[in-house]
Symmetry: C2
Subunit: 338 residues, 2 copies
DNA sequence: GGAGCGCTGGAAAGCGCTTTCCCGCCACGC
DNA sequence: GCGTGGCGGGAAAGCGCTTTCCAGCGCTCC
């Protein structure tokens, strides 16, 4: 069992060349090696089934081939889509993605970053949404600094004032545009299932939505906060119904929450969209086949992951770059005229 | 920029102890260190912001803290659920998960395994379903051997005759039980959207389903093959409709395919379940709120991921272990009496 | 009282690779 | 003919850590 690994030294010896030459052949250094030796090395490597030891390489080169990806919950389609984009780009660049999940605990994010630093990951994409908790923010910022000090790059998806490269979805603008579109359908009274009040993404979408309503001269919506999950949407919707609100249209700040909300409405005999219109945000691909089809703001999630990975992988200048990604309002069957 | 990292040597020097002592303090070796020195080391490490270099540790210890996870498509909820289970267990064990996606290309699986071998990952979970392609299988088997030779462990989720630890979902049994349940609803003519004909998972579910129908004395179903995706289900359903089959009940071998199929039926004005009953397989959590609610065979996907990670992480004997996981038929609104 | 033992601390030899530095060789220009 | 420079090859010095081995110390036990 556990046969000793084949080392470069063995390959070199077997091929009758020095360690240096073997190394040069097997990893395209700047130095030339004569075709004869090169061939011999390649052949013996092949024959012995040589695979370089990534740890040793990382150590010697002082840079690894790892890219970090930190998400809250890989089960959430929002994150899995972003993850798909990130992994595609990373794998094309010959890098390996190490996936960390925080379960929405900010301190976990810091831990993961520290682990990634230990691995000397060359870059990290932080896909989780930020909170407004100052102390968590500052600890995270400190970790990010430590990470970049070591020469690693960091990019965030979603709003983040952390001095890193960032992919910023148009949360505010999207919320606003959505509100206007819904107002055009004739709705006058709105409710928002707003997620946790300390989550930047949720706040932005809500703020945008409010602004959009204001644009249309409509009174501010009832806002019900809750968890940023399917169950959060479900609970919030129940609460809304219990509150006897007169709203005819509900905006859930994510599609996933909207799904939960629709389930709650259905259980209570509230028809969508006849009795209540409902809209979400994200346009999760997996959820596009639901009935009634969900009105939402489409975000190119996979592309966002690709962009983030792109930012973080090509060195770029020192200036933190920001790429804005627009959301597009998509009205479907879950919202009706009023 | 890129301030040199803090090394163990610096910590040791600063604390006025030897490298050996510092190392022993900072990673719980078997050796005792006096409280005084230990404290001093801990304090200076803290103060300097020391983070061990994982590559160096891996090299010196000849074992890394990486666990591989190979899936076809992280966007597919089937895989993201399994991934959640694997990452949870791995992170609890203090290990990092490196995620690889194959895009359903068998050769990519081999590449990823080789990369993982380069990283000396201590274990790998292969979550993608196997094909019946002999040559791909044998190349994969060779890679797996090479990997285990180095002392790494491998576990597969789903059927696999590769001599590794395996988590085997009850695909056959589940398909069979589902067929019986549907037969009890009074259906006499069935169709199956069977996925790719060379995918073991798909074949098993289909075979089980056929057996179940046979148990109930019902004629074999029409089988339409297609891609193992939402679109595959959509296309297959269209094909089914075009074929003028008399089937009153369709079994799609995955929930995701069933979603696609339902979309196709809806577009063609076929009502579910009034005109056509439909059932899936997996019971994807994200899809549970769809209307009509999908009848399916529930698999504890996250738990399967946890089990696989568990198998692969606790050393175990040499005997490849197999854990069987039963599917449970869940009849919901998408299937009606006939 | 000395041999033997257990215990703590340090020196140093690796782990497998990259890369610098040096050496010998050849082609070239004066 | 000799200095120069370029080029292909090898020796060896690390990269940051772990771990073996040894030294020294304070005990206990004949």
């Amino acid at each position: 069992m556990s046969a000793r690994q084949v080392t470069l030294a063995e390959v070199a010896k077997q091929a009758g060349v020095s360690l240096a030459t073997a190394s040069r052949v097997l990893n395209g250094s700047t130095r030339q090696v004569s075709e004869e030796l090169s061939d011999r090395v390649l052949r013996t490597a092949e024959q012995l089934g040589y695979v370089p030891n990534a740890s040793a390489q990382a150590l010697a080169r002082n840079s690894s081939s790892l890219v970090g990806l930190v998400v809250h919950d890989i089960t959430d389609p929002y994150f899995s889509c972003i993850a798909a984009g990130v992994t595609r780009v990373a794998e094309e660049a010959g890098l390996s993605v190490v996936l960390g999940t925080t379960g929405r605990r900010p301190e976990r994010e810091v831990e993961l970053l520290s682990t990634l630093r230990a691995h000397r990951a060359r870059a990290v994409v932080l896909a989780g949404s930020r909170t407004t908790d100052r102390s968590a923010q500052s600890r995270l910022a400190a970790e990010i600094d430590a990470f970049t000090e070591l020469g690693g790059r960091v990019a965030c998806v979603s709003q983040a004032k952390l001095g890193t490269d960032t992919v910023v979805p148009g949360n505010r603008a999207g919320g606003r545009a959505l509100a206007r579109s819904l107002a055009e359908l004739g709705h006058k009274k709105f409710a928002v299932l707003g997620g946790p009040s300390d989550l930047v993404v949720a706040r932005d979408r809500l703020a945008g939505f409010k602004a959009g309503l204001a644009d249309a001269g409509i009174a501010p919506p009832v806002v019900i906060n809750g968890a940023f999950t399917r169950d959060g949407g479900y609970e919030a919707a129940l609460e809304l119904l219990a509150s006897k609100s007169r709203a005819t249209c509900v905006f859930a700040v994510t599609d996933v929450m909207a799904m939960g909300a629709m389930a709650a409405l259905r259980e209570r005999g509230v028809r969508v969209p006849e009795d209540m219109s409902i809209a979400g945000f994200d346009d999760i691909p997996t959820l596009r086949d639901t009935v009634p089809a969900l009105s939402t703001v489409r975000l190119p999630l996979e592309e966002m992951g690709e962009i983030a990975a792109g930012l973080v992988l090509d060195a770029g200048g020192d200036e933190p770059r920001t790429v804005r990604v627009a959301g597009e309002v998509v009205l479907r069957a879950s919202t009706a005229h009023n």
